[in-house]
């Protein structure tokens, strides 16, 4: 991993750098598996190696491949890094050793999650119970972060409707997509299965690794693949932009309304126990709904971001075509 990171520092070809960054994500994902963090690994693989690489490639395609010479002020940077790193190393000396079971971390808050979550929430995947219930409000914040990013990207990249260019865009699309006939057929048969898998991950999060976030990403990936192979206009015909935006808002609202309903039912915000007569059933119901909200927002925001990126690209190309 150190090697990859160093290579990223050295190589000037942005395409290679982005690919390396993707591999870095994948390697850290496998590292997470080794550390028993399967949920995290799942997410890191789909985000670090998947979505973010994809976005970076799109950006590189739009901005040019090579980095200029002159990585300036290396000395100052080096000093700063040395100080920060030195301080961190200094900090490690009093740390409990790696993997030791009697560290403070494992003995104060965590035991309750590990030993009582089964009887308090009834979900075997402890990560899911902590994520969705004990610390459900963090997850609400997380969904809001994603929503914010979606709106932010939209505010930056959305272009006003420009019907006059449509023909030109159509032409670009056709020239790009005629070539990959075999890929198109292959992907087309895969997409239903990917979608199905997304649903499985969505609803199986209680028992194995997975949940709303991962499912959302996978779902979005299927749509993005479709858009890549069949062109944006085709994908847009399947799902329109305002509709996706509405869905992303709906996800946050769904999550929030679970909280509001639990307040009306006499609990505090996001207290799922009061959602049903039996606390455990209430927890199940609450987690199910909020995971759905998470999945909804994540999937639609990912689609929004990808569409905004590539729509901007088409817009640039169309403008270039017009000026030639």
């Amino acid at each position: 991993m150190v090697g990859i990171a160093l290579a990223v520092n050295q190589i000037k070809d942005m395409f290679a750098v982005v690919m390396l960054a993707g591999i870095y994500g994948l390697v850290s994902a496998s590292f997470f598996v080794a550390m028993d963090a399967v949920d995290v690994a799942f997410t890191e693989a789909s985000v670090g190696a998947g979505i973010s690489t994809l976005l970076m490639l799109t950006t590189v395609a739009m901005t040019g491949r090579t980095e200029h010479e002159a990585s300036h002020k290396p000395l100052l940077a080096l000093i700063l890094v040395a100080i920060t790193g030195g301080l961190l190393i200094y900090g490690t000396f009093d740390m409990p050793y790696f993997g030791s079971a009697d560290a403070a971390v494992h003995n104060h808050v965590a035991p309750r999650y590990i030993y009582d979550s089964m009887k308090e929430i009834g979900v075997p995947n402890m990560v899911t119970s902590v994520l969705a219930s004990y610390r459900g409000f963090d997850t609400f914040g997380e969904v809001t972060v994603i929503f914010t990013a979606g709106i932010g990207v939209l505010a930056l990249l959305s272009v006003a409707q420009r019907p006059k260019d449509d023909a030109a865009i159509e032409a670009i699309n056709d020239s790009m997509h005629e070539k990959h006939l075999i890929l198109r057929v292959a992907i087309k048969t895969m997409i239903p299965f990917i979608l199905l898998y997304a649903f499985y991950v969505q609803f199986h999060g209680d028992y194995g690794p997975g949940g709303g976030f991962q499912a959302g990403v996978i779902f979005a990936a299927a749509i993005i693949m479709y858009a890549m192979l069949f062109g944006l206009s085709a994908a847009r015909r399947v799902i329109t932009q305002p509709f996706v935006q509405l869905l992303s808002a709906l996800g946050v609202l769904l999550y929030g309304s679970v909280g509001v309903v639990s307040m009306i039912n006499g609990g505090s915000f996001l207290d799922y126990s009061v959602l049903a007569a039996d606390p455990i059933a209430g927890q199940h119901l609450g987690i199910l709904i909020i995971e759905l909200g998470v999945g909804l927002t994540v999937a639609s925001v990912m689609i929004i971001i990808f569409f905004s990126f590539s729509a901007r690209r088409e817009y640039q190309q169309a403008n270039k075509g017009a000026s030639l």
């Binding site: 750098v17 963090a37 995290v40 985000v47 300036h72 790696f98 808050v109 590990i114 690794p209």
Partner: protein, 127 residues
């Protein structure tokens, strides 16, 4: 000796963090800065996950007959942090695209130079 073995993991993480940090501040290319940011953040994630690891334990998914699990809390925190990371990345890249359109370049020095040019007469402005 035990100290080196016991803390070795953290040191590797710190080296990774610092490479990422170096890439952010030393490089002028904006995409590379974002990648540096990613490496920096990912290393912090690895640090959190290392903290949660218990020797000889398994993944925190309840199974009959297993008593020793790794700590699930850091996993939850990092799930959230990864999401925050991708959100920042997406926004940063979107900004880069707009900067490229507006300035025609995506290198820190060149942009700075163009800005300084714009306020050429009385430029007291600097970082």
């Amino acid at each position: 000796m035990t100290m080196i073995l016991g803390l070795y993991n953290y040191w590797v993480v710190i080296v990774l963090m610092m490479i990422g940090f170096y890439i952010i501040i030393a490089h002028g290319h904006l995409i590379k800065k974002i990648i540096g940011l990613n490496i920096f953040q990912t290393s912090v994630f690895i640090f959190y996950i290392s903290v949660g690891k218990v020797e000889g334990a398994t993944a925190p998914i309840w199974q009959e007959g297993i008593i020793l699990y790794s700590n699930p809390l850091p996993h939850v925190l990092i799930l959230t942090a990864i999401v925050v990371g991708i959100a920042t990345t997406a926004l940063g890249l979107a900004l880069i695209i707009r900067i490229k359109e507006a300035y025609g370049v995506i290198d820190e020095d060149e942009i700075q130079a163009m800005d300084n040019q714009a306020m050429v007469n009385q430029d007291k402005e600097h970082q």
